[in-house]
Amino acid sequence: MATIELSNLSKTYAGGVQAVRGATFTIKDGEFVVLVGPSGCGKSTLLRMIAGLEDITDGTLTIDGRRMNDVASRDRDIAFVFQNYALYPHLSVRQNLAFGLERRRAYPSLLTSLLSRDYRENRNEESARILAKVDRAAETLGLVPYLDRKPRELSGGQRQRVAVGRAIVREPKVFLFDEPLSNLDAKLRVEMRAELRELHRRLKTTIVYVTHDQEEAMGLGDRIVVLKDGLIQQLGTPDEVYAKPANTFVASFVGMPSINLIPGRLHRGDLVERFVADAITIDLPPSMSAKAPPGPITLGVRPDRLRLGAAATTSPWRGDAQVGAVERLGDRTDVILRLGPHRLVARCDPRCAPVEGGTCAVGIDPADVHLFSDADDGDRLSKSD
């Protein structure tokens, strides 16, 4: 159990590439934090810095208040689960699970155990403890039938479990996961996700988890950290990040299908403020855009907030859009719409899905929109509370 504090943590590689820039946040004891972002965003580097596999260029890292910058990774009391599992291929599952414990014996010397009786008894007792721990972990993870197999004889999911098992037998203060599910197929990935969540609930150990999959991040994390180009974009619970994305990058990275971003202009009248784009004009409540100066602006609206057909009739703004592709996904239906120059994605109930090629009324409620500045990765302008 541990609290991890990152303070202005940076990593600059020899070539001058800045992988992580001034990361500052605190991971609370027992918290499940997910670092998420596209490839090259620095999430793995950040995790490896916490693990001690990468040197810290700048800033400080503390675990339970102890500065860790110069502590070797083996002494940080952490367990790391690698993307490709890093199981020892020449060892059986049992040996793989026991490996870390064997290396941490209080009574390691076989020779001394031959000479000293006390030592021998202690050592035997320790061996029994190790075996028990391995068995318990194997049971937890459903690996009992495979204990004597070599990693190559296991399926991807089983290997994944061994990798997790190897971490949990050690009972470390912190678990670090580096994209552990990305080598699994989609179905297995969802299953393992639930298992990991369950595991965390049981162990209550601090977990830092890296993934590029926003769905995985949302599903697993107590809080998620969205990274891009080495910079933290937003830190919050999945709900916060989804509901109040800090900028257009976060807004479009989180949520599937991606948020609709519509470039336009903000006009500030006496009574109302008005968002104007080609074919779209929405009156906004004044409170909403308090921070926004008039002028170019980006409006975001999530696909499930676009109202289609009959549902649009109550919307303050509505227009007629042409229906492009209609993707029926069973429980929901995604619809591609053309509205003037805009391409919008809407998600709706399959029962009221429009017909491909036809037209369809579409409505937007001002309460559902997000405003961002029109710069690249434009910051959120809507009020955050």
């Binding site: 693990a51 367990a79 790391f80 690698f82 020892y88 870390g100």
Partner: protein, 793 residues
């Protein structure tokens, strides 16, 4: 669509162009080679081409030129006869070339023959008897004009050399004796000895010279024919009336050999030590630190004439109980298969004419075999060293001296075994005399009593065997075609297959002709007795005779097997550990690491012979770098470094070769390096987090990951180690005795020195089986240790 059409057309054109270029290249190369042959054919059309094979070892480029100009003069004087000259360099290269030419059925018409080979060559029927030519040609070539001993050296009566049929006309000859450093003699206050000096005088002088600073009394080479020359001065020899009667146990022989051994090994600096293999005996004299050197013939004179630091002269072999000297001589001989014997004889006469001999004599290299020419200034040149040219002729002029050639039996094994045992007893002194003699007698009698020596084996049934082999091959081919036809899939697959087969066909053809046929042939030869110097048709069928002789009676075979196994046991683990260590170092991320890698790799691409010569210097016990470095180190614990290829060769000879092989671990290192870079980084990180230190990580993670590479490299090294040849051939030639006679070296000796090609083929097949068995055992036993999953796909 249209642009695609254009692209296709361009592609077709490019393909046609490439094909045309390829065809043109092939045609051009055939035309070029063909036209060369054609031109040669046209030039000799209507005329006759004679082929002459000779060497120019000590004679150098001058001898080459003399033979050349002599041949051109002959051509000018004899229109219609062209002479093609082949000179492979030194005598060793010469004999190999001769052997291949003879085996190919294209023997040179005329060639040099050293007197030591007369018995074996004439027994094999290679040489044309010359008596009739001499008799038919009275007046132009008169044998009485030659020194009689030189002519008799080329007579062989079927068992002994010296009388009988004439097989060559001596072109030149030499007697032997000692070269004296006159400056050192002056320094020691010694007079030069008379031509009639004794061994007592000789050794007294050597001892006196040894007392000078930094001086060794004498170099005394112990080549077999020189040892026999020495024994003859005591009135004895290694044989009695014939070579069936070996007289090494004669008390006089033993006493004389013991005296020679004692001079070298019981006295300090009287004779050169024999440990140092750095220089041939002849070169030691040129350093100016050796008072006398010999017994050498005239052949060292061209080299000694280049000495500018001191004055020197020559004295004939001292006398013991008897006055005796030997002659060493080389003839021009004619192939028994020459197609133009009359013309060849004409050329032979020309080549031994007074003019040719005088030209050769001026080189200083040898003495004209024509007595009258040897008495002219061409040889007795007063302007050149040595002053006492007549010392070479003195033994011949005096009626009291017994001057004969040193003869050898038809079977060259005798000389080889005798030489290696004498070398061990006299030169390096590793073997007591009686042990060396017993060793020789055992090996020689084992060889003599071998059932293979029987002459009544049937001819090898080449016709039957060839028909059988062709039938098997044809059946195999038909079976292949049938299987191929049956298994044919859809048209597209067939097209692909056809293209594939066409692509590999050059290799398959090459393999069939240059690998499969020779392999089958060598297996057949292993069941035969073939000298490798006669036609293949002469081979006799001996069944498994070669194999039984090898396994049951050939002690040298067992020794060579042991030497090789010993080497493999040391070299393979040592080499792999070193390569892996080096690769680990080279895997470091250091600036300029590529340079270090190249430096480590470089020696493994260096050519074998040069490297071997270099390492011979390194391992020299007296002047070598290795022992110079080891002496002070081992001195701390009161030990001395080993004499690698001398007295300690039994224990240290093969390991020395193993140490040397470390120099070429670069190839293995590169493969290990590639393997190391394939070890997943995460595994090492995981191990690090599991508190495994760097050494532990290497053994617990890297090594298991690398195990397939280790297996591969070890197998390759193992196979290579069983085939050690060049190093041993160049550095020790298998000596002392047979202590560094590696398997393949012994195989080579059998095939090319002892003319036992069948025996050598059997050895090759035994080696193949040994390596195969060991490889299979290794592959089977290593299964639990090798983790192929470590290799990333």
């Amino acid at each position: 669509m249209r642009s695609r059409g254009v692209g296709d057309r361009a592609k077709t054109a490019a393909r046609a162009l490439l094909a045309a270029v390829a065809v043109a290249l092939v045609v051009w190369s055939f035309v070029r080679v063909g036209s060369r042959e054609l031109r040669r054919f046209l030039e000799t059309r209507g005329g006759i081409e004679l082929v002459v094979l000779h060497w120019s070892g000590e004679g150098g480029p001058e001898e080459d030129e003399i033979v050349e100009s002599s041949l051109r003069a002959f051509e000018a004087a004899n229109p219609g006869i062209r002479v093609r000259r082949i000179n492979p360099g030194d005598s060793a290269g010469f004999y190999t070339k001769l052997q291949t030419m003879l085996a190919a059925g294209e023997p040179p018409d005329l060639f040099y023959v050293g007197s030591e080979r007369v018995a074996s060559f004439s027994s094999l029927g290679i040489l044309e008897p010359l008596d009739d030519f001499v008799a038919r040609d009275p007046g132009t070539l008169v044998l009485d004009d030659f020194w009689p001993a030189t002519v008799n050296a080329f007579r062989f009566d079927g068992s002994l050399v010296g009388s009988g049929t004439l097989y060559g006309i001596p072109k030149d000859f030499t007697t032997v004796g000692f070269y004296l450093n006159k400056d050192l003699f002056r320094k020691a206050g010694l007079e030069l000895p008379s031509y009639d000096w004794t061994w007592d005088e000789y050794i007294a002088i050597a001892r006196r010279l040894a007392q000078l600073d930094d001086t060794i009394g004498s170099e005394f080479v112990t080549w077999p024919f020189i040892v026999r020359a020495y024994l003859r001065t005591e009135g004895v020899d290694v044989r009695g009336a014939s070579f069936d009667d070996v007289t090494l146990r004669d008390p006089v022989v033993l006493e004389a050999l013991a005296r020679l051994r004692s001079w070298r090994h019981d006295e300090e600096r009287t004779l050169t030590s024999g440990k140092s293999k750095l220089a041939t005996g002849a070169a030691a004299f040129a350093t100016g630190r050796v008072g006398m050197a010999g017994p050498f013939g005239r052949w060292v004179v061209p080299e000694y004439r280049r000495i500018t630091e001191f004055d020197w002269d020559f004295r004939p072999l001292p006398r013991g109980r008897e006055r005796s000297n030997i002659i060493a001589t080389v003839s021009w001989s004619m192939s028994s298969e020459s197609r133009h014997k009359a013309e060849a004889w004409k050329l032979l006469r020309w080549l031994v004419s007074p003019e040719s001999q005088a030209a050769q004599a001026r080189l200083g290299l040898a003495i004209p075999s024509l007595a009258t020419v040897s008495e002219t200034e061409a040889f007795l040149d007063p302007t050149q060293l040595p002053h006492s040219d007549d010392a070479y002729l003195a033994p011949l002029r005096s009626g009291e001296t017994d001057v004969r050639v040193v003869d050898w039996p038809a079977d060259p094994t005798f000389e080889q075994i005798l030489g290696s045992r004498l070398n061990q007893a006299l030169l390096t002194g590793d073997l007591p005399l009686d042990a060396a003699v017993a060793d020789f007698e055992a090996a020689w009698s084992a060889h003599r009593n071998s059932p293979l020596q029987a002459k009544d084996f049937p001819k090898f049934p080449w016709r039957t065997v060839t028909i059988a082999a062709v039938a098997v091959a044809a059946l195999g081919a038909i079976a292949l075609v049938v299987t191929y036809r049956r298994s044919r899939g859809p048209a597209s697959t067939r097209r692909e297959e056809r293209a594939g087969l066409l692509m590999v066909s050059p290799w398959v053809t090459g393999f069939a002709i240059f690998m499969a046929v020779p392999m089958v042939l060598s297996f057949l030869l292993s069941l035969s007795n073939w000298q490798g110097i006669t036609r293949l048709g002469e081979a006799q069928a001996v069944g498994l005779g070669n194999y039984t002789q090898l396994f049951l009676h050939d002690a040298r075979f067992r020794t060579s097997l042991w030497v090789t196994f010993y080497y493999v046991l040391v070299a393979v683990p040592l080499g792999q550990v070193t390569a892996l260590l080096a690769a680990t170092l080279m895997n470091a991320k250091v600036r300029g690491i590529e340079l270090y890698r190249a430096v480590w790799y470089l020696p493994s691409v260096l050519a074998g012979v040069g490297v071997a010569v270099l390492w011979r210097w390194m391992f020299d016990p007296e002047a070598g770098l290795i022992n110079a470095a080891l002496t002070p180190l081992l001195g701390l614990v009161g030990a001395k470094p080993p004499e690698w290829f001398g007295a300690d060769a039994a224990a240290w000879g093969p390991p020395a070769f193993a140490i040397m092989s470390l120099w070429s671990v670069g190839g293995s290192m590169m493969i290990y390096l590639a393997g190391l870079q394939n070890v997943p980084k995460e595994l090492l990180e995981a191990a690090d987090m599991d508190r495994v230190g760097p050494v532990g990580r290497f053994f617990r993670v890297t090594l298991p990951m690398l195990s397939p590479v280790v297996l591969f490299n070890s197998l390759m090294a193992l196979i290579g180690s069983f085939q050690v040849f060049t190093q041993a051939y160049v550095m020790t030639a298998g000596e002392p005795g047979d202590l560094t006679r590696f398997y393949v070296l012994y195989l080579y000796n059998q095939a090319f020195d002892l003319y036992a090609m069948g025996y050598a083929s059997a050895m090759a097949w035994i080696l193949l089986v040994i390596v195969l068995v060991i490889t299979v055992i290794l592959l089977r036993t290593s299964r639990g240790l090798v983790h192929y999953e470590g290799l990333r796909s």
